[in-house]
Amino acid sequence: MKIAVCVKRVPDSEARIKIDASGKAIDEGGVKFVLNPYEEFAVEEALKLNEAAGSGEVVVISVGNDASQETIRTALAMGADRGVLLKTEHVPLDPLPVAKVLAAELADGGYDLVLFGKLAIDDYSHGIGPMVAELLELPCVSAISKLEVSGDKGKAEREIEGGVEVVEFPLPAVLTADKGLNEPRYPALRGIMLAKKKPLEVKDVTLEAAGLEMLSLSYPPERKAGRIVGEGAAAVPALVEALKNEAKVL
């Protein structure tokens, strides 16, 4: 199968976030950036599908600045075949302009599957995958934790509150990956060496104007200082008392 995996460069989940002098962006100095964890599941699933079939191509696509090349190389090191960077200096929070450039790139690509992570851990927007599917008029299942593909049909499971939805769809289709779909492989040294030589095409793109304008970026309010109620089981009655009469949550 020909599979596209759309990936994003994001700050590592353990990174501390510092707001820069502009007050509307984060200071990237000293921050470790990684391939969005949910897209590791997407890359792994694409590789597994093609390994099981014994053939196919996995193309990694990202919208971002030049630094996103490193993110694409991480996916290539896992085993994807080639990369495409849709280069723009600024990726807006409004997902529609981003979805449009991705849809334009994917439209005539002849892909059987287009995979995304269910969300990016920086903006927590869950929009790009389903939006691309709508723009391409393709079936889409989001946040999948199980996938079966046979021939030109697929079946996926997605977790909902207190249950699991089972969804059937024809190929080509757009899917977004949740944790639990698989265990992503770590790039081996050989993979990292090979990735350096794999093709990575850079295309300049112009995004439409965004429909959201950032007015401010701030740190969350500090929680007011709490207190240690006591040590060991002996402190339990005081805790229950505080929850009941002070916090009033019981």
Binding site: D122, Y124, C140, G232, L239
Partner: protein, 321 residues
Amino acid sequence: MPNVLAILEQRGGNIKRVSHEVLTAARVLADGMGGGVDGLVVGGPGVATEGLGAFGADKVLVASDASLTNYQADRYAAIAADQVRAGSYAAALVSATALGKDLAPRLAARLACPFASDVTAVKYNGGITVTRPLYAGKANTTLKILASPCVISVRSNAVTPVANAKPGTVESVAVSAGEPRARTVEIKQPERVALDVAEASIIVSGGRGLKGPEHFALIEDLANALGGAVGASRAVVDAGWRPHAEQVGQTGKTVSPNLYVAIGISGAIQHLAGMRTAKTIVAVNKDPDAPIFKVADYGIVGDLFEVVPKLTEEIKKARDG
């Protein structure tokens, strides 16, 4: 007059509580604009629509058909888009649940309009602004929405439902026919339906301090005593002790419950990011320097294997009394 559409969620014919939160958020915008709030319910025949007026719905539009009993993404999106166009709504709001996270971006793509996801507050002052967390709550941003209509998904538990009596007149609307591109064929229910951390108002989470999956019975007992859901840290999910649906944190679920109890969780940055907006946080940990105590309102330093059974017992007593 600009009106706001609140897309309401039903499961098994019952409107979910998060829908009252969406109505309340829609009312904030509509009151600012001097407009009304219409609710839209898509589902099978016989959805219980009583009482929606109490939370601020002027009208409740019901799109019902047996084929819509379960969520069918393409058809729900088509129906919602038809309604937004027909009613010239300034904004369409939906809860950021599993359904809403899927539906909202589809709707925005169909309407070719801005989409603000997972917002925690909405406001109108000459234009619509929303507040939302970034980096899983390590920062907050306020965004201005520059076009109309727009689609907004609202995080569960972020908005407190406010009673606001309006007529809530129920009207049926035509359901466009059509085959979904992808079809939900089944909803699997686990044998014991567990309360989901994303929706729970009380969460008890366990971490590596529990030493093994067999000790999670302690967490379950405490959660039962409190009437809450069981959560888990990334470490124990990655170790295979608990299902990923229970994971709280930046790569799991971000939650804002009334009460969050962290047991044997040290408090990695990515975990704190996922739960720091809880209204009250309790931590039990044997390490007095654990970062979790920096965000906790109440802490007990000690051996969780002694503290938790005692806590469960005392909570039961407090609840019975």
